[in-house]
Symmetry: none
Subunit: 133 residues, 4 copies
DNA sequence: GTGGTCTAGACCACT
DNA sequence: GTGGTCTAGACCACA
């Protein structure tokens, strides 16, 4: 049996994901200015160079634009956002199925279980469907 | 916008769920001996006392039995395992719905999206359904 | 022959019974706030963590409720108090019989001795019946 | 509410009581040699001077006799032992009544409770009547 | 202030 | 070796 608590993805990737999630959630909109690298570094308690790398990655993916002396700005089209959302949904679904499979659910069993959930709740969630921290 | 990389649930609780997951996965069977507190502490790179607390919690929940000088042993009935699995499924479903809600999906939208997944794949997973971080 | 002066029950358990006794005595009533962990630690001259553990144990037994930032509060029903009292009486009786047995009294001898006490005093105690260590 | 864990009687008195108890229990018989003061001090983890004082007290009460170069010996008559036992019983009874009184039992209630115990058990104790840690 | 968590390191009891 | 207890001191979250 293996015990590992630490997240093993590189920190800079985690930062990228954090920002991508904020975009998906609509917390960051096209044109918004990201906090400065120094601010992010201080808040996330990581090295500024790590943040720098995350921002480079963002720019490489075409989600942000760095304007010297001004800061870094979100630069995504609505169409990209839509694609990101679909991508996030896919990923979440993967995780969900993965967990159930690990718990011994067969694919038909998962299907059935989900149907029971959808039926019971009449939708896809319930009151506390927003909990995900 | 908030940046936090660290998992904020207490370490001892993370250990508990790690072990609970192993039980759900069938990796840990009733009667199995858990690694010693010191081993877990070394592997997870945490203080032995933190592991001790996790083990106390396990015992409190009636999932394990610790025998002084011998070790800690899994003590769950099949019925409890079944309950744990259902619980894990519920939790995974919550997370899934949470993420989609955060991404802007309404409950009906989630329902529809899931239906499309179930229809497409004819089950609930696919080749890479085993991915679960 | 063995000499040991220290009380060998764990300190945190002693704290638990100290508080349980106070509840039994009616010194602590449902809803009452216990002294803060730091206060107890200072007064009992033990480490705050030890007190914390005692309080955790109390909560686990359902005798208290701790509210973050506020304190720890007694949470027992009258019915639980009654049960505690009976339990305390049983325990005291056990100790009493244990001591007499150790002193060489047979069970019938204990019975007879107690009867003589009850007869003499017409009750079960006397003026100094409140002395208890 | 008061918290005190430490036994507040002087250590040398506790030692005296420990030895008296051993005599009452029959573990120490007239003529037996007590462990040396150094041994007692080491085992009880107290200062040898404290043990010295306890032994002086014993001798003052006429329960022991110190023979220079040989050691300390128990010197009690059977009649004294009988008296000690009665005394121990009285003390235990006091404590018992004290605890029940503190728990809210009136004297008649104690009498009644004890009667129920004697009746139930047909004696004054039961299988585990010897437990007194 | 409160309680909650974590660490580092100590000593003990059991086997 | 195992787990059980305790300490000293740190930092955090909540109110």
């Amino acid at each position: 049996m293996k015990f590992h608590l630490r997240e093993d993805r590189p920190i800079y990737q985690q930062l990228v994901t954090t920002i991508a999630d904020a975009i998906v959630r609509g917390e960051l909109r096209p044109g918004d200015r990201l906090p400065s690298q120094r601010e992010v570094a201080a808040e996330a308690k990581v090295n500024p160079n790590t943040v720098q790398r995350a921002f480079m990655e963002l720019e490489r993916m075409g989600w942000s634009e760095t304007r010297r002396g001004e800061g870094t700005f979100v630069k995504v089209t609505e169409e990209q956002i839509t694609r990101l959302k679909e991508q996030a949904a896919q990923e979440a679904w993967q995780q969900f199925c993965g967990k159930l499979t690990a718990a011994g659910f067969s694919n038909p069993a998962i299907k059935e279980w989900v149907h029971s959930q959808l039926g019971e709740k009449g939708g896809g969630g319930h009151d506390s469907a927003g909990q995900h921290s």
